[in-house]
Symmetry: C2
Subunit: 209 residues, 2 copies
Amino acid sequence: MLQEKTPIVSQAVIRRLPIYLRYLQQLHLDEVDTVSSQEMGQDLDINPAQIRKDLAYFGEFGRKGIGYSVPYLIEKIRQILKLDRSLPVALVGAGHLGIALSNYSRLRQAELAIAAIFDKDPQKIGTKIAELVVEPIDRLESRVRELGIRIGIVAVPAAEAQAVVDRMVGAGILGILNFAPTTLRVPGEVHIRYSDVTSELQALAYYVE
Amino acid sequence: MLQEKTPIVSQAVIRRLPIYLRYLQQLHLDEVDTVSSQEMGQDLDINPAQIRKDLAYFGEFGRKGIGYSVPYLIEKIRQILKLDRSLPVALVGAGHLGIALSNYSRLRQAELAIAAIFDKDPQKIGTKIAELVVEPIDRLESRVRELGIRIGIVAVPAAEAQAVVDRMVGAGILGILNFAPTTLRVPGEVHIRYSDVTSELQALAYYVE
DNA sequence: TAGATTGTTAATCGATTAACAATC
DNA sequence: TAGATTGTTAATCGATTAACAATC
């Protein structure tokens, strides 16, 4: 039986893989067959040695003297990131941002479709957003189990975010993308990523003038 | 005349300052007067030594044996990040995301109000979003100069993003937050930050199950 | 074959953390 | 004063980059 190798790879590496994937998919559309780490590095502004090292954590995907096969590398990165299967996502918060995310077609293409939307506001519950009906937050646990959801998006106000995350964790969600502008507490086995436009712009402000 | 100290501080440090600020502002609302790096570290999940070091790049803001004055530290971080003045922001792209961003009230509070919205779609030009009228993209340069804008947000499809960024740079914008799922080319003096929900979720997928 | 490019080791660089004197 | 906590130096850790043998 084949024992899957699972080396401990740093988060920095994992976060570059989607960038590589996106780039390779564009090359594929442009009917490019082969690419070298040098070309990739030039286009993505990343050191070629780093690209080779990142990929080499997971196998020998290239050919010496030739480079990487674009379709093959796409397939491999999709496997590594587990994008070779459908990964339904739960969204909590049907405000402006939640609606924008629901309508974002790129997620569906990436096998990361939002599969259920929750809100606590009775005015929003029952309304339709991008073919999904907004469900009451109390339904979260049962729906997450039903749909086999492992990834959640938090798009509620900061004050409500920790409670939402606690429920997500309780329901078995293991990866969370948080848009609420607050630091959240999750157990060690749960991965959380933060996205905050205000913080990003505030950091940019430092460099301006 | 006081010569402003401008040490070269790493981007990692600058990106933590908005997190500190957000946290301190919450403490201030809760009427907390003083905080130690240890307390901050516990709440933000950041090593206390790192917090002290980050702050010490910019001055001696704390008091030995006591900690940091919350209102004073807020003031200082706002000065460092240049948030003690109004920083108008240009938004290009009046789609779902652009609309969500325009309606996001936290930016206004943070002195980072979106001051002008541009789109190339004649159907969108002239419509009102959050008290602003969508302007034609050709107006970008003149409006940026008129309003003294230094920061831009790109919320257009990937295929159009580079052209938009080129115009922004030409108009004198120095900091860009890009939501388009593509790597962009900017001159060295321009700072660019990327935000891509798809990439974030794809990276999370790796850690799930 | 000659030229190109990978995979990988070793060197470098930079960021994080520990430790502690200074001092409130 | 005694206890607490900063600012800062030194130690550690981890990530990036250079270099090159292997090989297509």
